[in-house]
């Protein structure tokens, strides 16, 4: 009997970003429709809504495929994902026109400048957050779905 382990790995992988997406969408609705912030936030939401959950699922499928060949702890495996996600997010944000690279930092919506040292700090924090999320949350869902 085929137990579809890769389908279960995909399902276990998308749980966390899908739950976080609810928070992001709630914040988006508040900012856009309650506080009437005049920036095109709709363009920002594309990446976390369309790409991130799918990439989490695919990365978890990759973890399952990789496990018998070259076993990495799931936390380390998850911490490698921002190395793929961050350039994709940056490229998409640049393509959609709400983020440009300035001389002193990243410029969002032609208004807010985030200095590069803060970007580096944010990336490092992201790596750590991904390590913890994958080790404890995705690992837990993998165990629940019987693929840990």
């Amino acid at each position: 009997m085929n137990t579809h382990p890769y389908l279960r790995a995909y399902m276990a992988g998308i749980v966390v970003p899908t739950l976080v997406l609810l928070l992001i969408l709630s914040a988006f609705c508040l900012v856009r429709f309650v506080f009437h912030v005049p920036v095109p936030i709709e363009r920002v939401i594309i990446f976390p809504m369309a790409l991130v959950p799918s990439l989490f699922g695919l990365w978890n499928m990759f973890y399952l495929w990789l496990r018998p060949r070259r076993h990495l702890p799931i936390g380390i495996h998850g911490a490698l994902l921002p190395l793929l996600l961050a350039p994709c997010g940056l490229a998409l944000a640049s393509a959609l026109g709400f983020l440009t690279l300035g001389s002193s930092g990243i410029v969002c919506f032609d208004q807010q400048v985030i200095p590069y040292q803060y970007v580096a700090l944010g990336f490092t924090v992201g790596l750590i957050a991904y390590y913890l999320i994958w080790k404890y949350l995705v690992g837990f869902f993998n165990q629940v779905l019987g693929i840990a």
Binding site: G122, V125, L132
Partner: protein, 73 residues
């Protein structure tokens, strides 16, 4: 004719010695899953607590990291 008899004999022997395949689950697997989940060690190493503290402190001290984190989650 002889060949047909051999086939029948083999079929009969197989039916006698191999249990029929049961497509349905014979028992509820959820209690077993709950036991497995309870067996999981709950202890979190100090290193991971330290990393979680770094994340929380960074978010508090530099709030501009919050949109970056949310954008990638």
């Amino acid at each position: 004719m002889n060949h047909q008899n051999d086939d029948d004999k083999i079929r009969q022997l197989l039916k006698q010695n191999i249990r029929p395949v049961n497509q349905e689950l014979e028992r509820d697997l959820w209690p077993h899953m709950l036991r497995r989940l309870e067996e999981r060690p709950a202890a979190v190493p100090w290193f991971d607590w330290a990393l979680a503290a770094v994340v929380v402190l960074s978010i508090i001290l530099v709030p501009s990291t919050i949109p970056m984190l949310l954008y990638h989650l």
